[in-house]
């Protein structure tokens, strides 16, 4: 501990009280000594990556019109699936079981009239991977990306967002999300910033830690240096120096009082939480302040264009937070309870607009991370909760589709310019190397040096399916 400046202490020492057991997240459910020991924050084996930037498109991105183009849909446009050579996709034995939260839901039906691709696609890079014209900039980074075209899930409504993040169906008791597990298992990269940050809207699951405790929930941030997080600035008329004076006296009095309560881990932990809070007040706005970024950088993220500005700012903030030591940055794109990508109608209009918002900034992020040497130990994930039906819904939309969809990953420990898994010619089922959502989690854990089985909490048994399987072919 640095006695000269108590406001510059490493977080790991926050977690060690005089007795040497972790105390910051003292949680009534967890404190029973004999049962549960908090992880020491070290990876279990050599990691390839240190941090995750998680980009989640809410509502369900059409996989056939993003990263798994299906020209057969245009070829058989307007025909029913039964009239095509691929009618076996409707074979009941092939249809994966769904757990339907809403009986009689108007959405999530089998759609049999084929809807043609609403945009074209091209091959990109040396790898020649096909990417839809809605994502040309991401396409231009194809050689750095590992595309996974064979995801599947078991909720065909937007509870699938909960499922993608936690591995469990929305109707099951809530369990920690991948971000919470990473936050729980690994120590802090910074003394001044929260380790798990969420930017953007959420609806179905506003918490992350669940049985791990609220200490592992994401801290919600807004990209506004003036008002980035709850209570970041003192209400009405208290200056920074006043605040520091108050804080110093609080800590001094706590220290004196602690002599009356020896071996009390809570006082120490609370004092440390105040010190971290104090530093966060300046560190968080600083991380979100783009004044010092060059014009080129701003352009790279699309800050100079209206459509891309908002998302671009969020991604630029993510890069800055990566540099400043945040472990898991989760960015949610797509307003609304269901998520804006949920184009049951007006797919072309909707996806054109939305992809325009995210395509350039995402490519910008990849390029920026790469040129700064950060991509080598950062995992970037681009995901959504499910895909959309090859068949049309209404005149011009696609419905929810859980049987096959695409996500991609890039960065530390991952191959670039590869595709893993495949769906059939209609994009209906994941037929080659199918991956349940937890396979993405398993891959992340593996790259971060975590053996998730070692993090299991007594009394909360995890099933094999919760752990997932590492997607080996995409590992470098």
């Amino acid at each position: 501990m640095n006695h000269d400046d108590p406001y510059a202490i490493s977080r790991r020492s926050i977690l060690q009280s005089a007795l040497g057991f972790s105390a910051l997240a003292v949680n009534g459910l967890m404190a029973a000594e004999n049962k549960h020991v908090l992880p020491d924050g070290q990876p279990h084996f050599q990691p390839k990556a240190k941090r995750v930037i998680w980009l989640f498109m809410r509502g369900g991105v059409s996989h056939m019109e993003s990263f798994d183009p299906k020209p057969e849909l245009s070829k058989f446009a307007g025909k029913s699936i039964g009239e095509t050579p691929y009618k076996s996709v409707l074979d009941p034995s092939k249809i994966r079981k769904l757990r339907i939260p809403i009986k009689g839901d108007a959405n999530g039906h089998t759609r049999t009239k084929i809807f043609p691709l609403q945009t074209g696609f091209k091959k990109y890079g040396q790898s020649g991977i096909e990417v839809s014209d809605w994502f040309p900039n991401i396409g231009s980074c194809a050689d750095d990306i590992a595309f996974i075209r064979s995801m599947w899930t078991s909720d065909n409504n937007h509870g699938a967002q909960v499922q993608f993040h936690s591995g469990r169906h929305m109707l099951d008791p809530r369990v920690p999300t991948i971000g919470a597990w990473i936050n729980y298992g690994l120590g802090s990269l910074s003394d001044n910033l929260p380790q798990f940050i969420n930017i953007g809207p959420r609806f179905f699951d506003l918490k992350d830690g669940h049985y791990l405790g609220p200490a592992y929930d994401a801290v919600n941030l807004k990209i506004d240096p003036r008002n980035p997080l709850a209570y970041a600035k003192p209400h009405g008329g208290i200056t920074a120096s006043d605040q520091l004076k108050n804080l110093k006296l609080t800590n001094k009095l706590n220290r004196i009082a602690s002599e009356q309560y020896p071996l009390d881990p809570v006082i120490e932990a609370r004092m440390k939480s105040y010190e971290l809070a104090y530093r966060m007040q300046t560190a968080v706005p600083e991380a979100l302040d783009f004044k010092k970024e060059s014009t080129e950088t701003r352009k790279l993220y699309g800050l100079d264009q209206n459509e891309t500005k908002t998302f671009g700012q969020q991604l630029l903030a993510a890069r800055r937070m990566s540099e400043r030591g945040v472990r898991f940055i989760q960015i949610m794109h797509g307003d609304g309870a269901a998520g804006a990508w949920d184009n049951h109608s007006g797919l072309k209009k909707g996806h054109t607009k939305l992809s325009k918002q995210v395509d350039l900034p995402t490519a910008g992020l990849l390029k920026d991370l790469k040129q700064r040497g950060l991509l080598e130990d950062t995992i970037v994930v681009f995901a959504t909760e499910f895909g959309r039906t090859p068949g049309s819904q209404g005149a011009n939309g696609r419905d929810h589709h859980a049987f096959g969809f695409s996500v991609w990953m890039a960065g530390g420990g991952l191959k670039g310019g590869v595709v893993n898994g495949a769906t059939d010619e209609l994009g209906y089922h994941a037929i080659e190397d199918p991956h349940y959502v937890t396979d993405v989690h398993a891959t992340i854990n593996h790259l971060m040096g975590i053996n998730p089985r070692k993090l299991e909490v007594p009394g909360h048994k995890r099933l094999d399916r919760d752990y997932g399987h590492v997607i080996n072919p995409i590992l470098a």
């Binding site: 009534g28 008002n227 209570y231 071996l263």
Partner: protein, 1037 residues
């Protein structure tokens, strides 16, 4: 069954063949745990599938499954999924099988005296609760007597009692959730008297009400927009029932019975019926099975500590609860539905009502869902209601309940009848009065027609109107803090935080700040803001010339909808009138804008971020206020400045004349048709009155229903748009009347907010209104649960109460007393207290008294001066040789701050309120649901309304930020400081503040440090702020 094609070989003769490179001890360490984990659920004490038990070597040998070629290894290694064991999940790992093989090859050595797993029925929590043998405290406090014996046996020395004032702080916070005042801390009364007094305070019911609301998962309704998807409206009555029942000291057993079956056991008592909110809360719009699953799960966990939910898909893996038991329990709830009954006051069920349950579908059948899948329901067999078989001894079969009239025809209650009649009468009276007024006007108008006044025309702008408006003042605000001197603030969703003012929820005109002073007639206004979100229109801007009632004003706003625009409009007599003064500009979210208005006389110039947008001639002006405007938007306001417009400032002229606003006095032309319409409406009102009256006599109701339809059609006939359709209806209705075909009887108070409107067919009650009987199943459940022989209810309740006084439960897994819960260390004490509870008539205050008057509870929570041996032997305080410190729950943090500040509003009960730093009620009355949560409370581990059997106590920096920076905390510190006399000297102030906020005197060092601080920082509210951030404020020592 599985056909086994393998032969079973002779087992090896034990131990003699090979040297024991695998010992019995190795078996215990490496093999038995694996078998326990993967095999005992089916091959152990719980069940013996295939008559095989694997929990002892002896039983394995007796079935001859061991051996290198034996069945066990064969099954473990089989590639055939039909034969492989275990049949679910993954196969045993390769190394586990190898170990088993090694053991078998070594002759499967068995440990001496290996005991089989105990019969689940012998589980400690399934035994009838008795006073422990050999424990007879006599007159002594049983808790003290119990621990005295423990400490003596272990050679422990307990800590002394806590300091008096700390003890009183602990007492008040435990029982009322509010800290004691300085006067209360100074009381010299004996502790038993204080305990009794505090238990009588109504705040006790609120404090412990919130505890039980945690356990019973209280939640206000939530869903999507206006759609109720979970819980129900008006469920606050259940909360009030909890608080009132606790204050009346209703027995716990009675409370349980009322929650599960109040509609059956007290069908005439709306208070008791409100208790069934517990079951109404489980409502889930989309899926009846999900709804009932949650009811089963949480009824099991809350009252019994049984995880019945684990048996939804298969037999319970640990407890003697099988798959059928789950559906027998479901059958208890199968008939129940939710509805809302009319309550005195407003008859509008959206605004007011009694949310409750009733058996709406008496014929509903329960079937077993194979593998828990509804689609695989086994319809060949109906399952009857019943408890888990292992606890069925005290079950009495349900007896159908005949309901009184009020229960199935609530509209027959006198107050409902009177209310409906009064409402109908009011309509008749109003229609009568209107008709008469028209008749008079018609007569009067022909005599003296008033001349229509000239329309207010736009005049060409010649020179500036010189006189400034009355009271034209300068307005400057940086929104860093509330300025009630400048603004009238309306709406609950404004927050001053981080140096700016945020509107946190979109509304349509219900949230605004209106300046108290009028602005100068000729003015320049700058408003700095950013729109941060909203539903559709996302409009943010400013009104000016706002008149007294707010019905007339001009306004300029920036809308982020679509491609964005800045627009000028007027509000005239409450109606918005849009102009052509519009500039299309993209308005982005989370981007700062400065709106600039320059107004001179009737001419206005509007600019955004320094760029001129448009000029316009206003049709008229009036002296008025400025008002912040946010329509369908959430926004941050950074600053506003209003000043007189300098005469030198040049304005751009408007390009065209504005349209004049004609505000003429409307003189209606009374034609014969108008009179006829009014007469028809009067007839309708009279018919509706007659219908209401006649409905009370069911028979004529049906006739009058037709008369109403006819009268309505006659009104519609006079409307040219409806005439054709109405003519058809009249023809049909007259024919029906002639033929005596009257509509079916419809109950008066068909609920609007209950399930009857849902598309979910499962949820509909049987046709024709509410049933006249109830199944009696939930009454049977309630009686069974609170039966003297029931081993779980009292234990679970005592455990919850103990935990909330002592900081740790006696049984760790508070919602699971099944086989995974080992016998608790202090089972004797638990059982003794459970019997006390039961035999006292389930009197919870009796239990509070027992606990709080014990020396055990009154001990110091410090380790200071602890006996070394005790500290080393029991660091975690399992034997309660000292007290445990606990952190305040979120509600207590906020309530305490307000209480110390003297601003807490102790009004009890009533509908849930939207949270806001400006609201002063106790925190338990805030809206508590997934969608409506208080940010401040959420920061301090608020109850998760999905399940909160035990609150978390986290320590995270967000809490520090909240206590350092929030409006709640800072306002409280100022208000608390203001309660001290300003002439108090520093030392007295410090002492007094310590006592008030921390419940104790400061030590010398603390006093010195505080005084030094105050010398540099004489503002006392800063010192108070320091103390409320002290650990010992949040912690209950």
């Amino acid at each position: 069954m599985r056909a086994l094609t393998l032969t079973i070989l002779l087992g090896f003769s034990p131990a003699t063949l090979f040297a024991a490179d695998f010992s019995a001890d190795d078996y215990l360490k490496q093999i038995k745990p694996v078998l326990k984990e993967r095999c005992f659920a089916c091959h152990g004490a719980l069940k013996k599938k295939g008559k095989l038990r694997l929990d002892t070597v002896a039983s394995m040998r007796s079935k001859d499954v061991l051996g290198k070629d034996g069945e066990m290894l064969a099954r473990l290694m089989s590639a055939d999924l039909e034969e492989r064991m275990p049949p679910e999940g993954e196969a045993l790992k390769a190394h586990e099988i190898a170990t088993i093989k090694k053991w078998i090859v070594a002759g499967s050595p068995a440990p001496a005296g290996e005991k089989p797993e105990a019969d689940p029925k012998s589980h400690w929590a399934f035994q009838r609760i008795e006073r422990p043998k050999g424990f007879a405290p006599g007159k002594a406090n049983p808790i003290d007597a119990y621990f005295a014996a423990r400490h003596k046996a272990a050679g422990f020395v307990a800590q002394p009692a806590a300091a008096r004032t700390l003890l009183l702080r602990r007492l008040y916070l435990d029982l009322t959730g509010l800290p004691p005042t300085v006067e209360q801390l100074a009381s010299k009364d004996a502790l038993p008297k204080i305990i009794d007094d505090v238990l009588k305070r109504p705040q006790y019911g609120e404090r412990w009400g919130r505890h039980w609301m945690d356990v019973w998962r209280y939640s206000d309704w939530y869903g999507l927009g206006k759609e109720v998807r979970n819980s129900q409206k008006h469920i606050w009555r259940w909360r009030d029932w909890i608080v009132n029942s606790l204050n009346e000291n209703k027995g716990y057993d009675q409370m349980v019975r009322e929650m599960l079956a109040g509609d059956e056991i007290a069908p005439k008592d709306p208070e008791a019926i409100a208790a069934t909110g517990f079951l109404a809360r489980g409502y889930y719009k989309f899926n009846r099975t999900t709804w009932l699953d949650r009811t089963i799960e949480h009824t099991g966990k809350a009252f019994m500590g049984l995880t019945l939910n684990c048996a939804k898909c298969h037999d319970h893996k640990y407890d003697p609860i099988d798959h059928v038991d789950y559906y027998k329990f479901r059958a208890i709830f199968e008939p129940y539905q939710v509805r809302v009954d009319v309550m005195p006051g407003s008859l509008d069920l959206e605004k007011n009502g009694l949310t409750r349950v009733y058996d709406g579908n008496l014929g509903a059948a329960t079937y077993l869902h194979k593998r828990g899948e509804e689609a695989k329901a086994d319809k060949s067999k109906k399952i009857s209601a019943g408890p888990p078989s292992v606890l069925a001894a005290m079950w009495e079969p349900p007896k159908p309940v005949t309901l009184p009239d009020e229960a199935w025809r609530p509209e027959m209650q006198k107050f409902v009848q009177e209310g409906v009649l009064a409402q109908a009468q009011t309509k008749v009276t109003a229609a009568q009065a209107h008709l008469e007024k028209l008749k008079r006007q018609k007569a009067g108008v022909t005599q003296n027609r008033k001349p229509a006044p000239k329309p207010v025309a736009n005049t060409k702008q010649k020179k500036p109107v010189s006189k400034p408006a009355v009271g034209g003042s300068v307005l400057v605000d940086d929104f860093s803090k509330a300025r009630p001197d400048l603004w009238e603030l309306v709406g609950n969703d404004w927050r001053y935080q981080g140096g700016l003012l945020s509107l946190t929820k979109p509304s349509v005109g219900k949230s605004y700040l209106r300046s108290k002073a009028k602005h100068p007639q000729d003015f320049e206004l700058n408003l700095k803001f950013q729109t941060t979100g909203g539903d559709k229109w996302k409009s943010v801007g400013i009104r000016f010339d706002v008149d007294q009632g707010g019905n007339n004003s001009h306004f300029v706003y920036a809308s982020a909808y679509g491609s964005g625009k800045v627009h000028l409009a007027h509000t005239i007599e409450g109606k918005d009138v849009y102009t052509k003064a519009l500039a299309k500009r993209p308005i982005k979210l989370n981007q700062e804008y400065t709106l600039n208005l320059k107004v001179r006389g009737l001419l206005i110039n509007v600019a955004l971020n320094g760029q001129f947008l448009f000029a316009y001639n206003l049709p008229r002006r009036q002296a008025g206020a400025v008002q912040l405007l946010a329509y369908d938007a959430i926004a941050d306001f950074y600053a506003i400045e209003v000043k007189p417009l300098p005469t030198a400032t040049v304005l751009k002229n408007a390009s065209e004349q504005a349209k004049p606003i004609v505000v003429a006095n409307k003189v209606p032309v009374i034609t014969a048709g108008v009179i006829e319409l009014a007469q028809a409406k009067l007839n309708l009102a009279k018919a509706e009155y007659a219908l209401a009256k006649a409905r009370i006599d069911a028979d004529s109701a049906r006739r009058m229903q037709l008369e109403v339809s006819l009268a309505k059609a006659r009104v519609d006939l006079l409307d040219p748009k409806q005439a054709a359709k109405a003519a058809g209806s009249i023809k049909k209705l007259e024919a029906d009347r002639k033929a005596g075909k009257f509509p079916a009887y419809k109950p008066l108070s068909v609920s609007k907010v209950s399930l009857i409107k849902t598309k979910n067919k499962d949820a509909l009650p049987s046709s024709g209104g509410y049933p006249k009987t109830s199944s009696g199943r939930r009454t049977a459940l309630a009686k069974w649960l609170t039966h003297r022989d029931h081993p779980l209810a009292a234990r679970v309740a005592v455990n919850h109460i103990w935990m909330r006084h002592f900081g740790e439960p006696l049984v760790e897994s508070v919602a699971d007393f099944g086989l995974r819960a080992p016998k608790p260390l202090h089972q004797d004490l638990l059982d003794y207290l459970a019997v006390e509870l039961i035999e006292s008539g389930w009197d919870m205050k009796h239990l509070h008294r027992l606990m709080l008057s014990s020396k055990t509870w009154q001990r110091s929570s410090s380790n200071l001066g602890a006996d070394k041996k005790t500290l080393a032997g029991d660091k975690s305080n399992h034997h309660y040789w000292r007290m445990n410190s606990r952190r305040m729950e979120s509600q207590v943090v906020r309530d305490s701050l307000l209480h110390l500040a003297g601003t807490l509003d102790l009004t009890r009960g009533g509908p849930s309120i939207a949270s806001s730093p400006n609201v002063r009620r106790r925190s338990l009355y805030f809206i508590h649901s997934r969608d409506g949560r208080s940010k401040f409370l959420a920061t301090f581990d608020d109850a998760d309304m999905l399940a909160c059997y035990r609150r978390s106590e986290s320590i995270v920096p967000q809490q520090a930020l909240a206590m350092m920076n929030s409006q709640t905390a800072i306002a409280a510190s100022r208000a608390i400081a203001a309660t001290f006399k300003p002439d108090m000297d520093a030392q007295a102030f410090v002492r007094s503040a310590f006592m008030m906020i921390l419940g104790r005197q400061p030590a010398q060092a603390e006093l010195a440090a505080s005084k030094t601080f105050l010398e540099q920082e004489p503002k006392r509210d800063h010192f108070i702020h320091v103390l409320i951030n002290h650990n010992d404020f949040l912690v209950i020592r």
